[in-house]
Amino acid sequence: MALVEEILTACRQAATSHGVTKVTAVHITVGEMAACADALRFAWVACRGRFPPLEEAALDIRTVPATWVCARCGAEYREPVGRCQACGAALPRLQSGLELRVDYLEGDDDRHGRASAGLPA
């Protein structure tokens, strides 16, 4: 899947430039509307071996719920609505749920061994 390719590329670049020889986990943020987490996990397991340091890396997905927000009164909805039920304004817009971000990875580097703490999140 194209999205997993992008994640792999980002991880490969980061791991290479930081001398990470074995990635243990990749942490990503995925909006509910951006991609299906199950499909991502499936594709991840199928594709991660293409870059050997990622072979055993777990994919940790933080899911962001989709919310629609009325531009006029700020009312929030968990599903698309045609009109704001609070103030009647047309078409509350999607505010969150399209996020797609590779946040960070954890792993062992060739100099220091495994140490996942120490850097800001």
């Binding site: 899947m1 194209a2 991880c11 590779v102």
Partner: protein, 223 residues
């Protein structure tokens, strides 16, 4: 050790959509994103449309499905170049998938139909770089759907009201659908169509031809 990436793939997705759009421009292609619920009749509409437009414009099709190649096979049977995309669970096509499919299609065509995954929520939110958005909405879905899935309808350039040959069997009139579409898709051209009987297909095809003309007032290759 921990390596912070903070890499935004959503922005990357928007760039890929823009690249798709530029590619359509360069090749003089009009790309239509076809959305609709599962079973709305998207593939049947293409089966009625392609035999009329393919000889004149050269059509290509990208078929998006979660699994199976059935829709792609139906299009291939018409002799139209088609790429089947399986999203492997994802509920909509993303621009990178479309870009990948474009690599597989022959050049020279002027009309590209992208049949999105059957779903009215997610495909409406994700820009894949197409020039026009069309919602296929069948009379058997009932007239409440445009209000339930407002974004898809509000962003549509055209709505094809499909399966109108079934109206005599329903407790609903054509006007019930046209009324709700007038409210929820005020900017869209509405085409009542039956892919089975051929009703309305001429008007729908004429609209597509007008879109190609509007987009490219010159023949391909001159600019």
């Amino acid at each position: 050790m921990k390596v912070i990436l903070a890499r935004d793939l959503q922005a990357a997705s928007e760039r890929v959509a823009e690249a798709n759009r530029n590619r359509f421009r360069q090749h003089g292609v009009l790309a239509i994103n076809l959305m609709g619920s599962p079973g709305a009749g998207k593939t049947a509409l293409l089966e009625a449309t392609l035999p009329r437009l393919h000889p004149r414009y050269g059509c290509t099709v990208v078929e998006g499905d979660i699994a199976t190649t059935r829709d792609g096979e139906r299009i291939a049977a018409l002799g139209v170049p088609v790429v089947q995309l399986n999203t492997g669970g994802a509920c909509h096509l993303d621009p990178a998938m479309v870009a990948r499919a474009l690599e597989e299609l022959p050049g020279g065509g002027r009309l590209l139909f992208v049949e999105n995954v059957g779903n009215l929520v997610c495909p409406a939110e994700v820009d894949i770089g197409t020039d026009r958005t069309v919602v296929v909405f069948s009379v058997t879905e009932g007239p409440d759907k445009p209000e339930k899935y407002p974004l898809a309808f509000s962003r549509a350039d055209a709505v094809v009201l499909s399966k109108v040959d079934l109206l005599p069997h329903l407790d609903l009139r054509r006007e019930d659908f046209l009324d709700v579409l007038g409210r929820c898709a005020p900017a869209a051209a509405v085409f009542p169509v039956s892919a089975r009987t051929g009703e309305g297909v001429d008007a729908w095809c004429a609209w597509i031809e007008a879109q190609v003309t509007n987009q490219y007032s010159h023949p391909p290759g001159e600019g």
